[in-house]
Each structure stands twice: as C-alpha cells, then as structure tokens.
C-alpha cells in the first residue's frame, strides 16, 4: 500500500468524523446481568428439530420472512403488467438468490410445460429449424456465466428528485445470476445465417409475445440461450424453461419464455423499442437503441430499509456494475462528495457481473451523506444525477445511473436525499 493510500485513509476517517478516541465505553462486567439466551437452555438445544425431508425443497429460516421481493402498488395499473424489486439491502456477495430476483412481466408469468416448449429459428437462415428443450440441452459447448440483468427503468422514479425510501425500490430492478446454457451463436451457426442477416428478433411465448430486435453482432458475440440459473432450472418468473441472455444490455431484451429467433435485414421497431425503452430528451427528441447499461453503483447498507443501529464499527457495503465491461474501482464518500475513499472489492470481479464493495467505518453518530461512484474498465465514471439531468433532462424514465445519496441521521435513520 502506498503512502498516499494511507494518507487518503486518514483523511477520510477525519472528514467522516470517525477518528475520535474513546467513542464506545464498554459496560463494566459487573453491571451486566447474564444473558438468558446463554444461561437458559433454549428449545432448539433441548428438543429434536425437523428430520430430513421435512422440507424436500428447502427455504430460508422462519426468521428471514421479511426478505422478500416487494412492489409499489401505485406504479402500475395491475400486477400482471408490473414489476417488483429485489431486496438488495438484505443480500451480500454478488449472486442474487433465484427467488429474490426482481420480476417484470408484461402479461403475467407464463406457466410452460417444457415438453410442449419449442424454439423456432426462422428468417434469413439456410435452414428454418425447430428445437425441443431436449435438443437444446444436447448441443455441444455448454457454458456457465454470471451476468447482471438490470431493467432500463431501474431508478426511473428518481429522475425528478428523491422519491422512494429504500434501495430495494430505487435500485432493486437488478439481479445477478449464474446462467447455464449455450451461446446463441451455436444455434445460429447450426441454422446458418445468410449474408444479409443483420438483425435478430427474439420472441417470448407469453401472452405479451414479448419481442426485441438485437443486432446480429451482439447475437453472435456473447448472447446465450439459458435454461438454468444458479444451478437449477430457471424460475417460471425468469422465463422457464428458456430465456435469452444479453450480457450488459437492458433487461427487457433478455426475452423470457423464449420461443423464437427470427433473422432479418433490419430492426422491427416493435412496441418495446419505440413506445417504451426509448429515452425522451429535454429537446423533445428521443434516443433509441440505448441497449448498453451505463456503469452504476449503490450503497445497500446503510440504506433506508437498513439503518445503522450501532455506533462504532460498521460495514458499509454495496454493489456496482457496468454494461461496458468490468468494475474497475468504486469510491465512497460519507461527506456528500467532498472527499472520497476507494472501497475494497471482494469476491470475483467479472465482466458484466455485479461486483461487491466494502468500506469498514467507525461511526461516531455524526450525520453522514453517503454516496458511491463506480469506474469501469472503459474509463467511464458514474455521473452525478445533476450531470445526467444536464445532458438528458428529466423525462427519460430509462437509464438513470446517477450517483445516489443516503442521509444517515444521528439516530441511524437513513433517508433518500438529493444534495447540491
């Protein structure tokens, strides 16, 4: 570690008001009463617990029932075409448990018998093909990859200012999952893309018949058709039995319940790439085909749903990601951006996957304005919300990757705020 780093750290501790001595005075041993959880035999230490097979498919502890996806009822007209949010403040590491991955459906969850599922490849191909799930799983070259999926509308409610108190609601339309499948290229090569095949249309089997146009370069580069997430079959709400994986690009393109890939010579301009998922700018023009997710980060703890409860040592943590490559660095401030300190990344830092960062702080109860700022392998630095508004206005809905601020009050209460 260089001298500079040590200096930076001292500086950071000082500005954050964390360097003072004698913050926590431990209670004298004789003043404490013995804790009954130690001195009394607890039920779980006396009685037999459930045997094996009490829960053939395991689930979290009864004490973790609050760790669930949640929705915001006023956001949408009905739940079949709606969204819920990943409880980011309750998670750690980089992998999102399958049952907590946020949901976004346009006509509800399709409940598909895999024996009746087919994937069709048609259009500008040497052969028009139909595959069963068995066929797809027999292809050589199976791969496993961890990728983040972020809805382009994640943080969309925050364009005009701080709105929702909780990173689950402001940033919870992202998840990060291990996918098992085969490259889409494998299937396209099997069918033989004709020279004028420049675009693909991916189509879902659900009642929304979700479609998106994707340039052939991306389709051949790193797209996957995946049938498993985190080692088991896709969850129905994530596209069982087959979904498209479009690494680094907006979640809407990752067509679930994937039933068809058409190859054509131009984009289709369907609903989800015209009326939706285009970015209206202040001058009234709209940017389209904004597929790449810009680099973004968020402090998940502390946050409004996970306030600080103790002075002294605390772990500040969060997640960062970029659709242009890997997370190169995350900086954190506790004084609203006057001074920054580079956070520690722990766990694998993989391209187009979430990265986990930590800063160990020593909190003396002073108010903090916490932000994180990611830099990616392309050199892109996460902008402030005002920097974003300056170039895009406030009507974009999509692609809000601005730096987010949490105010931590003296009582530990944490609030979503905007700062100058």
């Amino acid at each position: 570690m260089s001298d500079n780093t040590a200096l930076d750290r001292r500086n950071f501790m000082r500005v954050a008001g964390l360097a003072g001595a004698g913050l926590a005075v431990p209670a004298l041993a004789q003043e404490r009463k013995p804790e009954s959880v130690i001195t009394e035999v607890q039920d779980w230490a006396r009685n037999l617990g459930d045997g094996v097979q009490a829960h053939p498919y395991g689930k979290p502890s009864d004490y973790e029932k609050h760790v669930v996806r949640r929705d915001v009822e006023w956001l949408t007209a009905g739940r079949e075409s709606s969204v819920n949010f990943t409880p980011l403040h309750e998670l750690d590491g980089i992998i999102t448990p399958s049952g907590l991955c946020f949901e976004r459906h346009h006509s509800g969850v399709a409940n598909i018998d895999p024996a009746k599922h087919r994937l069709m490849l048609n259009g500008l191909l040497d052969r028009q093909l139909v595959f069963t799930m068995d066929d797809i799983k027999r292809f050589p070259g199976r791969i496993n990859k961890a990728y983040f999926l972020e809805c382009a509308a994640n943080s969309g409610m925050e364009w005009r200012g701080a709105q929702l108190n909780g990173c689950q609601f402001t940033h919870g339309m992202v998840h990060n999952v291990w996918y098992t499948g085969i490259p889409l290229k494998t299937l396209l090569d099997e069918a033989g893309v004709k020279a004028n095949g420049k675009w693909i249309l991916a189509e879902g089997a659900d009642a929304a018949g979700m479609t998106r146009s994707i340039p052939i370069e991306k389709a051949l580069k790193d797209c996957m058709v995946a049938w498993a997430m985190n080692g088991e079959a896709l969850r129905p709400e994530q596209g069982y039995p087959l979904r498209l994986v479009v690494p680094g690009w907006e979640g809407n393109m990752w067509v679930k319940w994937l039933r068809r890939i058409e190859v054509g010579d131009q984009p289709w301009h369907h609903r989800e790439e015209t009326s939706k998922y285009t970015d209206l700018l202040a001058d009234g023009r709209s940017r389209r085909f904004t597929w790449i997710m810009d680099a973004k980060s968020i402090v998940t703890n502390p946050s409004p749903q996970a306030p600080l409860k103790h002075k002294g040592p605390n772990v500040l943590t969060g997640i960062a990601w970029s659709g242009r490559g890997s997370v190169a660095r995350v900086d954190v401030t506790t004084d609203g951006g006057k001074n920054w300190r580079t956070a520690r990344l722990d766990g694998p830092v993989m391209p187009l996957s979430l990265a986990r960062f930590y800063v160990d702080i020593d909190w003396n109860g002073q108010e903090m304005l916490i932000q994180s700022r990611v830099m990616d392998s392309s050199g892109y630095v996460q902008p402030t919300k005002d920097e974003l508004r300056k170039v895009r206005g406030v009507n974009s809905i999509y692609h809000n990757n601005g730096i987010h601020t949490w105010l931590v009050r003296a009582n530990g209460e944490t609030e979503n705020v905007e700062i100058s």
């Binding site: 346009h106 048609n122 701080a162 904004t290 006057k338 009582n411 979503n416």
Partner: protein
C-alpha cells in the same frame, strides 16, 4: 524420409485425428439437432410486422368497425377516446407535450411507426385475451386509433395495400444511441478524491409515499 513416406505418415496422422474427433463428435460443424420447421408452423408463429409493411396479413378494416371493437374490448382500460383509465396506457392525444413537464407519449404524439400498433395489437391485445382478433379486426382497430389521433379521416379504411402511406408525425425525432459521443465527458481519467467541493446542501428529501416498513419508528442506536 522419402516424400511419399512423409505423405503416408501425415495421412495416418490425419486419419487418427479424424477418428478421435468423430468419437467425440467434435469435427462436425453441424450437429444435426432439431428438425426443419414446417411452413404451417412458421406461419403460426412468424406474425411480426415491420415499418415497411413486411409481415402484414391480407385484409382491411375501417375506422367505424374499429370503433365498435374498441368500445367493446379496449375502452375499459384505455378509455372511450384512448385517454387511458387509471394507469393504463393513454393511446391518443398528447400532441406537443414531449418537451413539457408531463410528456404524454401516445401513438400520435410519440410512436414513430404505425406498424408497431398493428404488431402489438396482433401479438398482445386485448389484454388477457391475446391473439383473439382477426386480421380485419386488427386493421380496423389500428385505423380507429389513427383516427383518434387525428391522423386519418372518419371514413378511412386501412389495408395491407395502403398501410405504408400512413406515417406518424414523430418519426423523425428518433435517433440512434450516441451516448459515447454526446456523453463523452463521463469518461474521466482522474475523478476528484479530496476537497472536491466546499459545501454540500441537501436539496431534496424522498417524498410521495411511505413504502418503507416501520419507517415511522426511528431505529434505535446503541
């Protein structure tokens, strides 16, 4: 070693390599998995429409026919005049609103192509009863929506033949992603780390709704 012996040795190596490859199926470029799609199957699923009209089925429908279908099957969510009920999508109006505080992105004010309307109705509408309309009904509904947006007259009949003549007013206002040039300044070499600003002021607090569990009871700090 003579030339012919070399060739023989090489051939032997090649044969061995091919044999090994065949055992693991690695030399074949095509797996032969799957089967050819039948034309009836392709016709059943390949129903997508493009702005140039490619994919449109034969058929036609009038504004008047569309109005009847709309009031029966669509107005409950979208409103009698496409104004949208509750939070269901607004389909008409909003002209000139795109630069305002409250842009209304309707077919007439925002959407670039009429084909999108036909395609979307055909694949996903009516909500909860998708793929139930005939091509003629879909032409009629599309015609009615165009009329609601003052883009065609009340006696208009939309068909595959005249579809391409319908252009939406906002088409020219879409442009391809240019973030890597228009937002080039977000690629910074050395973002500021110390003494980056003199003062910080809170300019806004989260508002609107109380969505956080137990948010009214402040946390207890020990």
């Amino acid at each position: 070693m003579s030339k012919s012996v070399k060739v023989l040795a090489l051939s032997a190596l090649l044969v061995a390599a091919l044999a090994a490859g065949a055992a693991f199926g690695q030399c074949k470029k095509k797996t032969g998995l799957g089967r050819d799609a039948l034309s009836e199957e392709i016709a059943a699923w390949d129903r997508d429409i493009r702005p140039d009209g490619v994919g449109l089925p034969p058929g036609k429908g009038s504004v008047k026919e569309g109005e009847v279908i709309f009031q029966e099957q669509c107005a409950a969510c979208h409103g009698e005049f496409g104004e949208g009920r509750d939070r269901w999508p607004v389909l008409a109006g909003g002209h000139g609103s795109l630069k305002s505080e409250g842009p209304e992105k309707t077919i007439g004010s925002f959407w670039p192509f009429a084909s999108t309307t036909f395609d979307y109705i055909r694949r996903a509408m009516p909500f909860g009863n998708a793929q139930s309309l005939t091509p003629d009904q879909t032409y009629a509904l599309t015609a009615y929506l165009l009329q609601l947006n003052d883009l065609v007259k009340e006696d208009f009949v939309l068909s595959r033949e005249n579809f391409a003549t319908v252009r939406l007013p906002n088409e020219a206002n879409f442009f391809d992603d240019d973030r890597e040039t228009s937002e080039k300044h977000f690629w910074k070499k050395n973002p500021c780390m110390t003494n980056c600003k003199a003062a910080v002021k809170i300019t806004g607090h989260a508002r609107v709704i109380d969505v956080t569990p137990d948010s009214k009871d402040g946390p207890k700090v020990d």
